[in-house]
Symmetry: C2
Subunit: 230 residues, 2 copies
DNA sequence: TGCTTTATGCGTAAGTTTTACACAAATATA
DNA sequence: TATATTTGTGTAAAACTTACGCATAAAGCA
């Protein structure tokens, strides 16, 4: 049986970063083709002997110099039959989170055209990337409530108020500060450090750490992370 | 920029059916190639102008004559670089549920080699299909608790005991019959019919229906389906 | 120094949901 | 008519969630 198929496989990464109470998305400006100067997700074609995740890491490194904290497959988009005039492209989209400190860092490659955009102030996007992004944002919102991935968007050590703001920003909901803290502490996956915030105003706050090892251990014992809001 | 890529795109379907308190998976016997006579998931290569879901429906119809009740994209498997000796294959796996009545029906095409296997009595599988299947089973288990997809595995009208058995079989857990019924009824997405079971033993049981319209309406109002067990 | 402002840290009562458990009702069959 | 079998319903205790209020620790300023 002969197989003639003229489809190319690409990967795209939706990279989220969180900084100053805003959720941001990493985009790059297209340098070639009909869509020159439009913004797009980081991505590119997969090499014949390259695993899908490796392709994502490579593209991220090549185009933006960024190393992500968390990466998972999101969805495969393949129904836009004319995304590229040369051939059909099927794109395996990945969902990534980076630590907020990396937000400030300039990309270290030739891509000074990589830029962070607040999720609610996006430019017009190339291809079907707005659809992909919407899917990714929904996934982030859902995942936040049953997996402790918020920590991958924060510094290693963070304030409770940071975490709380992250949740209320991304979920677009108000949260009761006291119940939120109580709930998270009850999971017993956070660790107090000896350090304090150095903000000007108010009572200094303790810095906390996420204990991933402990979380993984608890998972095996049937523990179930879940945060819901009214 | 020239793109040379020698990868083919396939779709695979993991079709689940439920009958007589057993969860079954639909497999077909390979007729050609090195893996002749091994069992595999239903699937095949995507046509250049064919949407991914359409490819799945086509393959299912061609190879088994089955029309599914529920279909969703599961995951894209692309890291087995040598699944096919001719070229690399990336497979977009879909997750499907069929109504139990269809379990008895013979495939109406040339594929008398399609067969249902109980999930816990699977034959050796071709390619990486055992990995795919495991992923699918986990997805089914998870999804059962936050989306009312169990109904897609049952007849249009079903007994509460059927539903309860389905949950306890698939989740491999014991369920308190009374609390289960109470919980499900509290959602107000089931409808009593006037009909009763025709079993020989015991008190006749009412047949129920899932009211999908009502469920969809409730969803829009912020309703959240969830069934958990101790 | 002490008053005000700001944000953190903790406690508790009321409301809601989950869990555990037992008995009556409806049928078939001996 | 008694027995076996499965369905249908109720209720109290426990666990969890929600909605709040107040004391504490710093900084700024009069």
């Amino acid at each position: 049986m002969e197989i003639t198929q003229n489809i190319k496989i690409a990967v795209d990464a939706i990279v989220f970063g969180y900084s100053k109470n805003e959720l941001n998305v990493l985009l790059i400006k297209q340098k070639f083709g009909a869509l020159k100067n439009k913004w797009a997700l980081v991505g590119g074609f997969v090499k014949d002997d390259e695993k899908l995740q490796d392709a994502v890491h490579r593209e991220l490194l090549e185009e933006t110099g960024i190393k992500v904290n968390y990466l998972e497959q999101l969805f495969t988009f393949g129904d836009d039959l004319h995304r590229d005039p040369r051939f059909r492209v099927i794109s395996v989209a990945y969902f990534a989170l980076v630590n907020s400190t990396k937000l400030e860092a300039k990309p270290d490659t030739d891509a000074e055209e990589a830029q962070w955009f607040p999720i609610h102030k996006l430019p017009e996007l190339a291809f079907d990337h707005d659809t992909i992004l919407k899917t990714a944002y929904t996934r982030l919102q859902n995942k936040l409530s049953y997996q402790p991935i918020g920590f991958d968007l924060l510094n290693n050590e963070f304030l409770f108020s940071d975490l709380e703001n992250l949740y209320s920003t991304i979920l677009e909901k108000n949260i009761d500060r006291r119940n939120f803290r109580k709930k998270l502490l009850s999971f017993d996956i956070l660790e107090e450090t000896e350090k304090f915030s150095d903000k000007k105003n108010g009572r200094p706050a303790k810095l906390f750490k996420f204990n991933k090892q402990k979380y993984n251990k608890l998972l095996k014992e049937g523990f179930y992370f879940e945060i819901k809001f009214a």
